[in-house]
Amino acid sequence: MTAKIIFIAALFLVSGEAHAQDAGLYWKYKDYDGIAFMLPRTAIDIASWFLDDRQDRVWLRRVNKVRVMVFEDVRNPVTERDMQRFYRKASRRHLEELLMVRDGKTHVRIMARERHNSLRKVVVLTHSPEEFVLVTLKGKLRWDDIMHALKKYKKESKADEKPLIPAVIRTR
């Protein structure tokens, strides 16, 4: 009996750990006044039916889950403590930081986990006292998929190019 209780407790602990990193933030704050939604694989698959380009469909089907949480025009409810906890857990779960930009009080971070030559998870996080954006993408994105997406993005955004680096540090 004791062994059973320990086993159940261990299971709970493991499931708690599964809610680590971005999922932890998402589940804690999803009911706050903002936008929060999660697209499961089925929804993504259905969405892919409506795409004209075959390559786009293939690319999209490699995505298993998308999580988006946005707080805009309201005070960012995510506490500094939760952010620190998120970063700690992220590094423990092999989510590597790719890019970090801090401009004043605005932080932008892109993190990713790579395994067997494909991207398994990408997290884009922007937070400032007035704004919070979390986008998580889970799946199995290969480099040629990313190349395809980049090509397409480049074509589409050539007219209206938005720089990744904030204007304040760009050359005049």
Binding site: E96, L98, V101, R102, E114, M147, L150, I165
Partner: protein, 198 residues
Amino acid sequence: MQKLLMMLPLFLLAAGSATAQDDGITRFFNQYVDDERFTVVFVSPKMFQMVAKIETDDEDWNKFRDVVKDLGGLRVLTSDSITNGVAMYKDALSKVPMGARNIKQRLDYLAMYKDALSKVPVGEYSELLTVRDGQENVRIWIKDSGNVINELLLLVGSPDEFTLLSFTGKIDLDKISSLSKTLDIKGADQLDKIKQKN
């Protein structure tokens, strides 16, 4: 055996001092990383590795890829809203370990350890170029081992502007100067001076 045991702390001390030297600029960077007057950019080695994996037929992208494929990381600390840019520049400059001079001081100070120290490969920055134009100061340092440049450090300081830019990895000076336009970061345009010098 006793001699060996006595040598061990000396080696450890020397190795520690080498690490401390290397970390001078990192410490300086970390000191201001949360300062809101500064804008901070950090691109991790992983990002460069990932970029290098993406092959396209786009010429611009391939040029960029060719430059960054050997890079190990990029840190930028910049500000245009400070009033003590020159003082900060001097402070950062004092953190650059000028290998030979520092080793000498350390050897003088710890003469008894000089044999142990001489056996430790001490990291060394050598000055690539210095430009002083009015109150604007630009210095570029490199850290190399053999024919390979492992780190490039750019410091720009004027009364109202300060930029610290550090590239790590395997650096090709000709190629890195071409990044000045791609990066589009204040101060990075000074990288052009490397090409002019060459």
